[in-house]
Amino acid sequence: MRWMYHIGRYMRLLAKSFRKPEKLSVFKDLLVTELESIGLQSVGIVALLSIFMGAVICLQTAHQIGGWIPVYTIGFTVRQTMILEFSPTLIPVILAGKVGSNIASQIGTMRVTEQIDALDIMGVNSAGYLILPKVVAGVFIVPFLVVLSMVLGVGAGAWIGVATGLSPLADFEYGMQVDFRVFDVVYALTKTVVFGFILTSVSAYHGYFAEGGALEVGKSSTKAVVWSVVIIMVSNLILTQMLLN
């Protein structure tokens, strides 16, 4: 029954976080900071992983197809893999590791050093001040990172296909366009918005209720990453079932 306690406390924290900010100008400043922290500072890792994954998917697909499967399948597979699963799911998982641990340790340190108590005593809604800008930034910026990942992954696939002679550019381009459905992108971005919310809010939850000292902050950071990933995976299954049926 412990999990019910956590769900209840998480819901209450969200309700507290989503109250009107004390001062809109302060909220805007915090939001810009978080957009930079969650978004811009993650561009490098997202780009790196996407380029290599796109390239590897291209090579693997080329290796799998025999003589009777058309070469344009390579472009098709790279596109579908990147758009449907790799970018919208694995990028948020990677961000849960990078951004989630950062959020949990930052808020957790503020908790154990009484900085959150200081906010509360001043009359500041500490949950709203600390968590809302991170969640809004996550929901807003993660889809952009995912779109970037899709573009770079498919681009890298095309480049490696041409560079290795496994797929002429014309075939790859044709494969990229075959049976393309805009709904696939809508589906991917819908998932991404949800995952952006999960990775920021779950991490913030673990940091906000950290207790003790440095050791506990470390543990809360680990828990934040593990639970964010678990919840993202479970949500992925549920959302896929809901959206694709």
């Binding site: 050093t113 900085q115 005593i121």
Partner: protein, 250 residues
């Protein structure tokens, strides 16, 4: 003035506060002393609303804090300044930004007015030149003084200090004690200091409440403290050889 009436608080089976009633007077430094684990910090947290008491009432100048709505509590909270044991400065902000923070959140001051007010508060704690430093670049004593500057930025009516001298050398501790004392009389604040540092108590206290096992078992002033009269109090106050010698001389 702050009044506590019959506060009770338990954590599971552990009864931490037992029928605590006390009055903290305006313009005075009201000390709450007691051994570690006696319930001092829980009492303070119940008073400022960080912990909800199971029973009892807290009055801020007649306003029943416990029964107020969140919005009404917020008004009182903006009248409270608090100095934490570890200073609790926001480490991502400079000293100047820390002091400006409550003004930024709750006042309509312009940037220039905020800067001036923060500079005046820092000047008051003799840290006029430290505005651009980050908390990590300040010594423990400086951090406490920044904490005081932040606490007085909004002209509070009530000031809470949780172990203000912990981790400080005796000379710096006296500076902090005197600062708390001076600010209290200067701004006519109701100040509550939670401490178990007897030097501080003898230096800065106007009234003293002794907490033992979750109850206030004695209250009085410095002179009364040296006279003793309650066994638990005497065991606490005269635990050190120095205090025993002082008592003999008195």
């Amino acid at each position: 003035m702050i009044e506590l009436q019959h506060l009770e608080k338990s954590f599971g089976d552990h009864h931490v506060l037992k029928d605590v009633s006390a009055t903290f007077e305006r313009g005075k430094v009201n000390f709450v002393i007691g051994r570690s684990g006696s319930g001092k910090s829980v009492m303070t947290k119940c008073t400022v609303g960080l912990i909800e008491p199971d029973q009892g009432r807290v009055f801020y100048d007649g306003r029943d804090f416990i029964s107020l709505s969140g919005r009404e509590r917020k008004v009182i909270r903006q009248e409270i300044g608090m100095l934490f044991q570890g200073s609790a400065l926001f480490d991502s902000m400079t000293v100047q930004e820390n002091v400006e923070f409550p003004l930024r959140m709750f006042s309509d001051m312009s940037d220039a007015e905020r800067r001036d007010r923060a500079a005046a508060c820092l000047e008051r704690v003799e840290l006029a030149d430290a505005g651009t430093r980050f908390p990590a670049e300040c010594s423990g004593g400086m951090q406490k003084r920044v904490g005081i500057a932040r606490a007085i930025a909004m002209n509070p009516k009530y000031l809470f200090c949780d172990e203000p001298n912990s981790g400080l050398d005796p000379q710096t501790a006296i500076v902090i004690d005197n600062l708390i004392s001076d600010i209290t009389s200067e701004y006519q604040i109701t100040t509550v200091v939670v401490s178990h540092d007897m030097n501080s108590v003898m230096e800065a206290s106007d009234t003293i409440h002794f907490v033992h096992q979750g109850s206030i078992c004695w209250h009085g002033n410095r002179e009364g403290l040296l006279k003793g009269g309650v066994k638990e109090l005497e065991d606490f106050v005269f635990a050190s050889d120095l205090m025993r010698k002082i008592r003999k001389n008195v």
